[in-house]
């Protein structure tokens, strides 16, 4: 594809992303072209890179999120742009954020499991709000008495928080037990001279606290530590 054509594809992609006002993925962008002129995936990726570069030093940027690419206001200009809107950006309560974090990091998770960790009941309002915002959805029911719903985060959650996948969530603090802390203190002392942190924790608790890579493809990962066959039923 020559330079002129490339530029044309770039402009069409830019036009489409601005017309859509929502993220579009590479397939959706390629579908805008008739078959005979449709750019290959690699070309499209290249064009998106060019587009990203063309916005450096402007008021907006091309951002990749879970559902695709979108144009958005650069964070540094958000304070001015925010004045366009009467409503102040919503602040979320700690209870809501903690519930959301537990669902994000430990999905699929039931309300009871959330309550166990938080040590308090989770109000139905919070769950409802999270579902109404489409950040959270029920992905199945746990095969225990009462068949409680299991919650997981959605693509919209990732989009809203500017993430492409759950992998991009800030890492969860490691949990240490008494035995481990003993070992660690000892190591600290021995390592006064050479400081070196081993990859502790990760190997010892396989996968339990790592968020699943893609929420949509694996909506019902088994709860951590569950080795039985079908503790989990899906819709």
């Amino acid at each position: 594809m020559n330079e002129e054509n490339l530029k044309r594809v770039q402009n069409i992609v830019e036009a489409a992303l601005l017309a859509a006002g929502r993220p579009l993925n590479i397939d959706q962008l390629r579908d805008l072209f008739e078959e005979h002129e449709r750019p290959a995936r690699q070309v499209m990726e290249h064009v998106l890179m060019l587009l990203e570069e063309s916005c450096i030093d402007r008021g907006f940027e091309l951002k990749k999120v879970a559902s695709g690419y979108r144009f958005q206001v650069r964070q540094e200009f958000a304070p001015w742009v925010g004045r366009l809107f009467d409503e102040k950006p919503q602040r979320y309560s700690r209870a809501l954020l903690e519930t959301l974090a537990l669902i994000a990091y430990r999905q699929p998770i039931t309300r009871g499991e959330i309550e166990d960790i938080r040590g308090v009941t989770v109000s139905s309002n919070i769950i409802r709000t999270l579902q109404e915002r489409e950040w959270v959805r029920v992905v199945g029911h746990k095969d225990v008495p009462g068949r409680p719903a299991m919650y997981a985060t959605t693509r919209q959650f990732l989009d809203y928080f500017n993430l492409t996948s759950l992998d991009e969530l800030p890492p969860l603090a490691e949990i240490r037990d008494l035995e481990e802390i003993g070992r660690e203190i000892e190591q600290e002392i021995q390592a006064e001279i050479q400081f070196d942190t081993p990859e502790s924790g990760k190997g010892e608790q396989p996968g339990s606290d790592e968020p699943p890579t893609n929420p949509d493809e694996s909506p019902a990962q088994k709860p951590p530590g569950d080795s039985s066959q079908s503790n989990t039923t899906l819709h």
């Binding site: 006002g21 958005q72 742009v81 919503q90 994000a104 308090v120 008494l178």
Partner: protein, 282 residues
């Protein structure tokens, strides 16, 4: 997780770790076993403030974490009796002023009391087995809660829509009208007709039945051909290729159209040319 004993065998140096750990403890955390000399000064809270204060916590674990942090204690080495004492102060203060506490706070109070009493029991000197540490479960829960409390704070700082960024869009140009016709199956049309007929009970109307649709079709085409404002020669409605049947169908259609007063036929003189035109009121 390996059992503590085997763990110690796997790591021989670990056995000598115990005394080292004791010495390595930061002095602030070494309240255990010592008489508590300095009482926290800020325990008195006015009633209104207490309500606000307790509401600021997401539950007993959160309150406990606060108390621990305020004492600069390590979660892994909490002084249960001190923390229990402080915790109870808040609980009884709240109860004294009839501030309604969530049940979880009271459950935690009981748990703390139990741990405290177990700590007071004479302990066997099997230090390496922390399963025996009555605090273990509480510590595990505190840590677990703390990491998600932190995770929630982290999530809150992620750049998010409507606060840190806004989606962009531009006005649309004139768009070509898409050819968005739904596909229709003839059977759907027939089914729809069946529905109407059932409702209208048209089956009793043999009028509909008798007609051949070709006549109806020809009626339409004659009407479409006829100009409303002037006459058209009768012959122009036929085509030679259709042959005799065509003439018959056309004639039947015209008769039907005359009957329904949709066209008028004029013959100026006997055996003269026949002219046809669509009927209009003017």
């Amino acid at each position: 997780m390996t059992a503590p004993e085997t763990g110690a065998e796997d790591l021989p140096e670990q056995t000598s770790a115990e005394p080292v750990r004791d010495e390595a403890r930061p002095p602030v955390a070494r309240v255990e076993g010592r008489p508590v000399s300095d009482l926290p000064q800020d325990l008195y809270i006015p009633p209104d403030a207490l309500a606000v204060f307790l509401e600021a916590f997401e539950g007993p674990l959160d309150l406990l974490l606060y108390l621990i942090r305020r004492q600069n204690m390590n979660i892994l080495d909490i002084d249960v009796s001190e923390i229990t004492r402080q915790y109870m102060e808040y609980i009884s203060a709240a109860e004294a002023m009839r501030f309604e506490l969530a049940a979880e706070y009271l459950v935690m109070a009981a748990t703390l009391a139990e741990i405290k009493s177990r700590m007071l029991l004479p302990r066997q000197e099997v230090e390496e087995d922390e399963e025996d540490d009555p605090r273990a479960e509480l510590i595990r829960r505190l840590q677990q809660y703390e990491r998600f409390k932190k995770a929630a704070e982290d999530v809150d700082t992620l750049p998010r829509m409507e606060r840190d960024t806004f989606p962009n869009s531009a006005a649309l140009p004139d768009l070509p009208r898409g050819d968005a016709h739904p596909p229709v199956d003839l059977r759907e049309v027939l089914l729809a007709l069946q529905g109407v007929l059932q409702r209208a009970d048209l089956f009793t109307s043999h009028h509909v039945e008798k007609e051949r649709l070709s006549t109806r079709e020809r009626m339409s085409s004659i009407l479409a051909m006829l100009p409303a404002d002037r006459f058209m020669p009768f012959e122009a409605l036929f085509t030679r290729e259709e042959g005799r049947l065509g003439v018959v169908v056309t004639f039947l259609a015209m008769l039907e159209l005359v009957k329904e007063e949709l066209i008028e036929i004029v013959q100026a003189e006997t055996l003269g040319a026949i002219h046809v035109r669509a009927r209009t009121s003017n």
